[in-house]
């Protein structure tokens, strides 16, 4: 590798020729988590208990104890998260090769479709049409679905949980099979609370994104923000989950590097 590659990047970062876009929602007690039927264990939201703030519990220092589920806030899903990925090698966050934590991203804009129909289902046909218009999805990319769903954070319409379940866009099985087996994606990156559509438990097979992605060793990134700030091709995602022993996922800071030629 050319010695100049990283130093060129450093110069570009310093000059702003490469910008760093934050794709992470703020981790706060108010940030919604996925809601399961009440008889199942529930995803613990982020919580913060002050330990000291320059007070009698610590006169010169400020720090908090925090707690949360592995899948709270902007988070990473490892293959072991789903039963289909339970027996794969290196399927937990501590075992995934660090090399996989940096990967390019292709952004598929379905924001208009999602705005028109909260239950918009991404199909293989849609992706093939998209490729004819935008170009082929390259291998070992994150496939990011821009839905502009992040703009709903802080409103009931983010989870959009009605009496017949959640309503948010996501892929069907055909689309996920295509992304995994024919485009060899590294994973699926979304702004919604899960990689699957809100109604995906009624799909056949149910929850195809979780099932197929993780069953094939691919990852999920959820609750992202700012996907509308990324170019269709050419950005690079840095997503390093916490190294939790045997962890099924992790809250994390996700950023994207965007070069000026993309701007």
């Amino acid at each position: 590798m050319s010695q100049s590659l990283l130093s060129d990047l450093a110069v570009a970062l310093a000059s702003g020729a490469v910008r760093v876009i934050d794709l992470t929602n703020t981790l706060s007690p108010d940030f919604p988590v996925i809601v399961l039927p009440a008889e199942f264990g529930q995803c613990a939201p982020f919580r913060m208990e002050k330990l000291s703030r320059y007070d009698d519990n610590g006169p010169a220092w400020y720090w908090n104890n925090i707690s949360m589920n592995e899948h709270s806030g902007t988070h990473f899903d490892a293959p072991a998260h789903w039963v289909t990925g339970k027996d794969l090698p290196s399927n937990t966050v501590d075992a995934i090769p660090a090399q996989d934590f940096m990967a390019p991203v292709v952004v598929i804009d379905i924001s208009a479709e999602a705005a028109a129909d909260a239950d918009f289902v991404l199909t293989r046909t849609f992706l093939e049409t998209w490729e004819r218009e935008n170009g082929r999805i390259p291998p070992r990319h994150w496939i990011a679905l821009r839905t502009d769903w992040y703009k709903r954070v802080g409103t009931p319409e983010y989870l959009n949980l009605l009496e017949d379940g959640a309503h948010s866009p996501g892929p069907d099985a055909g689309a996920v099979e295509f992304m995994v087996h024919e485009r060899n994606c590294i994973g699926l990156a979304v702004e919604t609370v899960g990689t699957d559509a809100g109604q995906a438990s009624t799909f056949t097979p149910p929850l195809p994104a979780h099932s197929i992605l993780h069953g094939n060793g691919r990852f999920g990134l959820q609750c992202l923000t700012n996907l509308d700030k990324l170019p269709t091709f050419g950005a690079l995602i840095v997503a390093c989950p916490l190294k939790i022993e045997g962890g099924s996922g992790s809250p994390l800071r996700v950023v994207a590097l965007v070069g000026e030629t993309n701007a």
């Binding site: 007690p29 264990g41 613990a44 919580r47 409103t155 983010y158 949980l161």
Partner: protein
């Protein structure tokens, strides 16, 4: 008749809030034992083992024959033989509430007693005696008219021995559940000015939301007892405007200890019900305490609704009972702390609630309406501990008679 209470005017912002004094707690162990029974709404006196005479005030031995004394429930009737009006006092609390009427009552049980008088009671009247707790948690005898008089509960002397919801502003912590909704409605029906109704997840709808939030007097507020920041934020907004706090939050799940219990359920129970109670107390106790003698809508009470099985444990609901036990322990300590500031701390104890988490429990189960009625009764009477339903009453009675046996019975 009593002048009906009217909502207070807004406070003059230039006036210093009246400090709520509490008499120093110098009472004997016998007086403390009387207080414990008063807190349960009982009317008790000590009765001598040997000469069978009832005695008052509380003592360590019979004043007649030096025999041993036992607490026994007594008839509540009495006749007022003399009355007087106190016009000066060195007591920091009473000197601000003068003139104050007291009298000598010949109790049907035997002894003469100095008692506080309701405004509608005069010399020669037959009266109904109540054993009350004063704002410092000490027992006191209060003479009520034998028959209900109009606006009887609004009597200014009586109101200092109760935490009547009338004209008060009340925070109910969990409006998302049927119990909190029933409590909120009942408090408004009992004359509360406003019920601030907590919602732990304002972005998520809940059953009954449209109905309860449309009721005049209900003010929905964001409040999540598992989130310290959320409680602090609400206390900062409402602290000085809440006169009573009623905590109805629960996290009940079935399960044992060695078998069938889920650690995550236990954590959720403890965080919501135990740590959450302490978060709530830390956020609201100071503001309540600062306003314990602040006019007709002075801050008055902190009420906690918990499972009776906190006393005993309960097979099949081990974790939830453990949370209830911890809750009762915290409430007991809080009661001691708040007695020094003139705020009553009350426990409403319930059997299994008729909700979706007790589907497998056979009836009888307590309804939200029964719990709401108990909350209102406790506040109106000033009672410290009240059982909301037959199951709670039965467990309480057995536990008082034989704790070790009851613990075994409830864990079979």
């Amino acid at each position: 008749m009593t002048n009906p209470l009217t909502p207070p005017k807004r406070k003059d912002p230039l006036l210093r809030t009246h400090v709520g004094h509490v008499s120093p707690n110098l009472r004997s162990r016998a007086a403390t034992a009387m207080a414990a029974r008063a807190g349960q709404g009982r009317f008790v006196l000590q009765v001598c083992h040997d000469c069978r005479r009832a005695t008052y005030p509380p003592r360590d031995r019979c004043p007649v024959c030096w025999g041993e004394l036992d607490w026994q429930d007594q008839p509540r009737g009495a006749v007022i033989e003399a009355e007087t009006t106190v016009r000066s006092s060195v007591d920091l609390f009473f000197r601000d509430h003068l003139p104050w009427r007291i009298g000598s009552a010949r109790l049907d049980a035997g002894p003469m007693a100095i008692v506080h008088l309701h405004g509608d009671v005069k010399q020669g009247d037959r009266v109904r005696m109540e054993l009350k707790l004063d704002r410092g948690g000490n027992p006191a005898l209060f003479a009520l008219p034998e028959k209900e008089t109009s606006h009887m509960a609004d009597d200014p002397q009586l109101r200092l021995f109760t935490a009547d919801p009338k004209v008060r502003r009340i925070l109910v912590t969990d409006g998302r559940e049927a119990t909190g909704q029933a409590v909120a409605s009942a408090l408004l029906d009992a004359g509360a000015t406003t019920v601030f109704l907590g919602n732990a997840d304002p972005l998520m709808r809940y059953p009954g939301q449209d109905r309860i939030e449309a009721i005049d007097g209900i003010e929905p507020v964001a409040l999540n007892l598992t989130d310290t920041g959320s409680i602090e934020k609400l206390a900062a907004q409402l602290g000085g405007r809440v006169d009573i706090v009623v905590n109805t939050a629960r996290f009940t799940r079935s399960g044992g200890v060695g078998f069938g219990g889920k650690l995550s359920d236990l954590q959720s129970s403890l965080d919501l019900e135990v740590t959450g109670l302490m978060r709530l107390a830390q956020a609201f106790a100071p503001a309540l305490s600062a306003r314990s003698d602040d006019g007709v809508n002075a801050a008055a009470a902190f009420v906690d609704v918990a499972s009776i099985h906190g006393l005993t444990g309960n097979a099949g609901f081990a974790g939830s009972s453990a949370a209830a036990a911890a809750r009762l322990a915290l409430v007991a300590s809080l009661r001691g702390e708040m007695a020094q500031t003139g705020i009553r701390v009350m426990s409403v104890l319930t059997g299994p609630v008729d909700d979706r988490w007790h589907q497998s429990v056979p009836p009888p189960k307590v309804t939200p309406t029964q719990i709401a009625r108990a909350v209102v009764t406790a506040l109106q009477s000033g009672q410290e501990t009240i059982c909301a339903d037959d199951v709670a009453q039965d467990v309480m009675a057995r536990w008082q008679a034989d704790p070790a046996l009851t613990i075994r019975e409830e864990n079979k």
